[in-house]
């Protein structure tokens, strides 16, 4: 179903001929997505091909596009960096807005600690710019490559530093939103023309329509600008980078520490979470290294440090006595970066940490205390520029569980995540890297109090059997969760992409109020149904 020539010309008039395409090869580059293979027929890597792709350059153009789409009743799906299938068209007949031309950092207000950004300002770039002013931004778990505006307005917005720098949902200040009806809403102080510093109001905070727990993921209009709150960065104006590709590392000054903290059992680990919250130490707190599996991950991290080695050499590393000891030492661990705002501060934080470790029987993993390993950890964790090592084993990865809650809650589903995975690893359907391949925030929101664990499963995306097993594993996890009275995790959201309308409606009916209110909001703001079910709604009965 190609666009009518009238519609195409109308869209072309808005962006100009250089910024619109409907060529099949170009369209397939938009349709190609990570995780498509888990929901599409024949495990295709391609989501439905968009009818056209447009590259708007301004809010005005976005608004004109959305108005044209209303006129011609064309569905429209925006994305910023376009990582994974939520950003793609979910059906035929959709045009894709690629926001990459709107990439500016419009303002950095150093004193008041916020930045005003466009959709394609990625976290790594924003961080580099704000570091020059002694500030830092939250780099979400999606990493340095992803849009900060998107984390703030449309998706999950937590990262390893959220315990200190906040979740992007908390950091969102003023926002500019082209609603599906073609109107522009500026929420917070910017709507009153008073600057971008305040998120809420005037009066009832219409910012509440923006994001919620999860975000509309491109399903309800286009966010074109927003301001995000920044946090202090008492470090150098840029990362000093040393080391040979790919294991770059950064020797940071004496007020920075990176630790891998390990514990004799899970209860002690989660107890440490609580102790960190109450004592308010830590700039970054996240379970990161174990994402590659408690059995195999440590070998990989050692291998990665050696630029003469490749993944092909991992078996050799696993056999090393040093690696075996390292693996056992960090089996139940997480990463903590301490950053002192002053020398006194870092000394105090170190002392508090020592006491917490005494109380909980924890220890600092020795290997990670070596200067080069610590420098590697600091750069990795603070910039999160190697986040996609998630894909390093096979090119295919899916993260299940990650139900966020108190440590006491997360502790309850942690064994289930392992039990539900073990069989798939032992059969060799997923990478057999250890049944604990869980990562996640120690404090997913500012000040902590909430955390989560995401169980990674690595499947060979080029292998049909393995890919099918990953889908089975996701379904199995949902079943196990249901049996143990645990809500479905991220796997439920992934699989929802592939569900029929009726199947999805059954799921949504389990939380009828939420999805009915969302329907009413959508009906008011998207009368021509331009958005897709990334903003899920329960049908009217």
């Amino acid at each position: 179903m190609a666009l009518s020539r009238d519609a195409y010309r109308a869209l072309e008039d808005i962006v100009g001929p250089g910024y619109i395409s409907e060529d099949p090869a170009v369209m397939d580059s938009y349709a190609y997505q990570w995780l498509a293979e888990t929901v599409r027929p024949n495990q295709s890597k391609f989501m439905p091909r968009p009818e056209a792709a447009l590259l708007p350059g301004s809010t005005k153009e976005v608004q004109a596009i959305v108005r044209t789409c209303n006129k011609y009743k064309i569905k429209v799906k925006p994305y910023s960096t376009g990582w994974y299938f939520y950003g793609a068209p979910l059906t035929e007949g959709v045009i894709q807005l690629d926001m990459r031309r709107m990439d500016r950092i419009l303002e950095i207000d150093e004193k008041n600690m916020f930045a005003v950004i466009e959709p394609y300002a990625i976290a790594g770039v924003l961080q580099a710019e704000v570091m020059k002013r002694g500030l830092n931004c939250t780099v979400t778990g999606a990493g340095a490559s992803c849009s900060t505006l998107v984390g703030a307005t449309c998706y999950h917005g937590s990262g390893g530093t959220s315990i200190y720098t906040g979740e992007l949902r908390e950091n969102l200040l003023g926002a500019e939103w082209v609603m599906p009806n073609g109107e522009i809403l500026r929420t917070g102080s910017i709507g009153s023309g008073c600057g971008w510093f305040c998120a809420e109001g005037p009066g009832p905070s219409m910012r509440g329509i923006v994001r919620g727990a999860l975000g509309a993921r491109g399903g309800l209009g286009v966010y074109t600008k927003c301001a995000v709150k920044l946090s202090p960065w008492p470090g150098p104006v840029e990362f000093p980078v040393e080391g040979t590709a790919p294991a770059y590392r950064s020797p940071l000054p004496g007020n920075f520490r990176a630790y891998t903290l390990a514990f004799k059992d899970w209860d002690s680990l989660f107890e440490a979470y609580y102790r960190l919250y109450d004592n308010e130490i830590g700039y970054y707190a996240h379970r990161q290294w174990t994402m590659l599996g408690a059995d195999l991950g440590p070998a990989f991290w050692m291998l990665y440090q050696d630029p003469t080695k490749s993944l092909d050499d991992i078996e050799e590393f696993v056999q090393k006595q040093e690696v075996k000891e390292f693996t056992e030492e960090m089996r139940r661990s997480f990463q903590l970066v301490l950053v002192g705002m002053s020398q006194r501060d870092i000394e105090y934080q170190d002392k508090v940490l020592e006491r917490i470790l005494e109380e909980t029987g924890g220890w600092k993993v020795k290997k990670w205390l070596e200067p080069e390993m610590e420098q590697f950890a600091l750069l990795y964790l603070l910039r999160l520029g190697k986040k996609n090592l998630n894909f390093v084993y096979t090119g295919g990865w899916v993260g299940n569980f990650m139900q966020v809650g108190t440590p006491d809650f997360v502790k309850k589903y942690r064994p289930l995540a392992e039990d539900a995975t073990r069989e798939y690893q032992e059969k060799g359907l997923l990478v057999d890297c250890g049944s604990d391949s869980m990562m996640g925030c120690v404090g997913s929101i500012s000040g902590g109090g909430n955390c989560g664990l995401e169980q990674f499963g690595f499947y060979d995306v080029a292998d049909k059997v393995s890919t099918a097993a990953a889908v089975e594993w996701m379904k199995h996890c949902i079943q196990e969760e249901a049996m143990h009275n645990i809500p479905p995790g991220k796997e439920g959201m992934y699989l929802a992409v592939g569900k029929t309308h009726e199947e999805l409606q059954q799921d949504l009916a389990k939380q009828p109020a939420t999805h009915t209110w969302q329907r009413k909001i959508k009906q008011a703001l998207d009368p021509n149904d331009l958005g897709d079910r990334m903003y899920p709604t329960l049908d009217e009965r």
């Binding site: 510093f197 305040c198 910012r207 008492p234 109450d278 002053s342 500012s446 909001i521 008011a524």
Partner: protein, 481 residues
């Protein structure tokens, strides 16, 4: 009325009269009656009945005195839904530092209960004895500890809301998979996460709404660890600009806990018990002062306070200022015990002249001096004594924003004075808005000034209210329409 069952209904003229006006210049309007529900079920029944009978409802959670006109009906025949009987502290969870409360719970009631568990809440500046915690948080009143103000709504987290159409929704992680609180508690959950459920932050929609979109029947609130060591300091200054630069530096590195800026009139009003005392103290105090509390809460509390004091002093010195344990004979301890508690029974703003009008808005610290000049110029023009104007600056959202408040005490019995203040309020508000002051909580006369400049939000608020309160039952007329 039979539908609202056995709820307490008050029709006494004297009591109705007390709900018909407040300390603002809002026009008085007598309500039809007052109903006092005991629980969410009662509230839902009232709202359902009100929808059926098209009866306006005005939710009230705090006791008198009221100041913003938000509890005074805007339309005739309104029913006051007074939530003060819903005053249960449902659960204190020390481990997760959460407390679940009903709307009638006041700061005066809650703080001692929390203290027993080793917790406390960051409060607004000397809330009145009768102030509802939930009302304060829902109306986004600023709290004293900017570093804990992770968003402007902090420490508010999850809510139970009865919407204008009578339906109930629980928000945040309280509105997730587990339908009852008991099930959530059993699973170790503690209503910590405020977002959602789903793609909407419902709790923001009811914030700043003056009860016009939904009625909150309980809320979870994040607590702080009760300090073991807590000291207060002063950074006095003759001019605001230099002090602001110093404040920025301290806020940037999140030093200190309580952090506010007061002028001499404001600090004197807080510390004195009578008008003469205020007058005398005001003349003694420095024109401006940062008040900073430094708390040691858990491990090594002494050492924490100690190093933060030293770090603060180092920074303060760079600005040619001083960090002092006392100023003009007022010790940090005295300020601490005053501002960490609710106001004395006579609300502190009323001590000086019996009445007080406030102008408050949000901005950033660097712009405050201009606003002060504007207010002072307007006051001079109207012969209002500038030296009486109390000024309170409360950095919020970890220093990104600042609540700026001018207190204008006056004698309400004196019509000329009262008229002057009314005029001052009017002209100042217009001038400040023109100048870029953000009236994020536009009560009373501010509503039209603010919403007429922001057609987008005005329309969206109408849309949202139309969805959640389709019959316009809840506090109609408070929001510009």
């Amino acid at each position: 009325m039979e539908m609202i069952g056995k709820q307490k209904i008050i029709k006494e003229h004297k009591i109705l009269d007390s709900y018909s006006h407040d300390n603002s210049f809002t026009l008085p309007m007598q309500p039809r009656l007052v109903v006092q529900p005991r629980n969410a079920d009662d509230v839902q029944k009232i709202v359902t009945w009100a929808n059926r009978t098209k009866t306006p409802l005005v939710p009230v959670s705090s006791g008198e005195p009221h100041f913003h006109g938000d509890t005074v009906p805007s339309v005739p025949e309104a029913v006051i839904i007074d939530l003060r009987r819903m005053d249960k502290i449902i659960r204190i969870d020390r481990r997760n530092r959460m407390v679940l409360i009903e709307p009638g719970v006041t700061y005066a009631q809650l703080q001692p209960a929390l203290a027993e568990e080793g917790l406390r809440l960051s409060t607004p500046l000397l809330p009145r004895q009768s102030k509802s915690v939930i009302a304060s948080l829902l109306e986004r009143e600023p709290t004293l500890v900017p570093k804990y103000n992770h968003t402007l709504l902090e420490p508010l987290r999850c809510l139970e809301i009865v919407w204008g159409n009578g339906e109930i929704l629980r928000t945040g992680d309280a509105g997730g998979y587990y339908p009852t609180l008991e099930q959530q508690w059993e699973m170790g959950l503690a209503q910590v996460f405020s977002g959602g459920p789903g793609q909407v932050d419902y709790y923001r929609l009811v914030s700043g709404a003056q009860g016009s979109i939904g009625i909150v029947t309980w809320a979870s609130v994040k607590c702080e660890v009760l300090p073991k060591v807590h000291r207060f300091f002063f950074i006095p200054a003759d001019n605001l600009k230099g002090l602001v630069e110093c404040a920025y530096r301290l806020l940037k590195v999140r030093l200190g806990d309580e952090f506010l800026v007061l002028n001499s009139a404001s600090l004197a009003a807080i510390l004195s018990r009578d008008a003469d005392g205020i007058q005398a103290l005001k003349n003694k105090l420095p024109p401006w002062v940062i008040i900073m509390g430094i708390a040691g809460r858990d491990l090594f509390p002494e050492e924490k306070v100690d190093f933060q004091e030293k770090d603060t002093r180092d920074i303060v010195h760079q600005f040619g200022l001083e960090l002092l344990p006392a100023v003009s004979g007022i010790g940090g301890g005295q300020v601490m015990s005053t501002i960490l508690n609710p106001s004395p029974v006579t609300y502190w703003k009323l001590t000086y002249k019996g009445a007080c009008q406030d102008i408050f808005f949000m901005s950033t610290l660097d712009k405050i001096s201009e606003f002060v000049n504007t207010v002072f110029a307007a006051a001079n023009a109207l012969r209002y004594p500038v030296s009486d104007i109390g000024i309170y600056l409360q950095p919020q959202h970890q220093g990104t924003a600042c609540h700026c408040e001018f207190n204008l005490p006056y004698n309400s019995g004196n019509k000329i004075e009262s008229d002057h203040v009314r005029e001052l309020l009017d002209t100042c508000s217009e001038a400040l808005i023109e100048q870029g002051a953000y009236f994020s909580r536009p009560y009373g006369i501010w509503a039209d000034m603010v919403y007429n400049r922001d057609a987008g939000n005005k329309e969206m608020i109408k849309t949202i209210k139309g969805i959640f309160d389709p019959n316009n039952i809840l506090n109609p007329g408070k929001l510009c329409f």
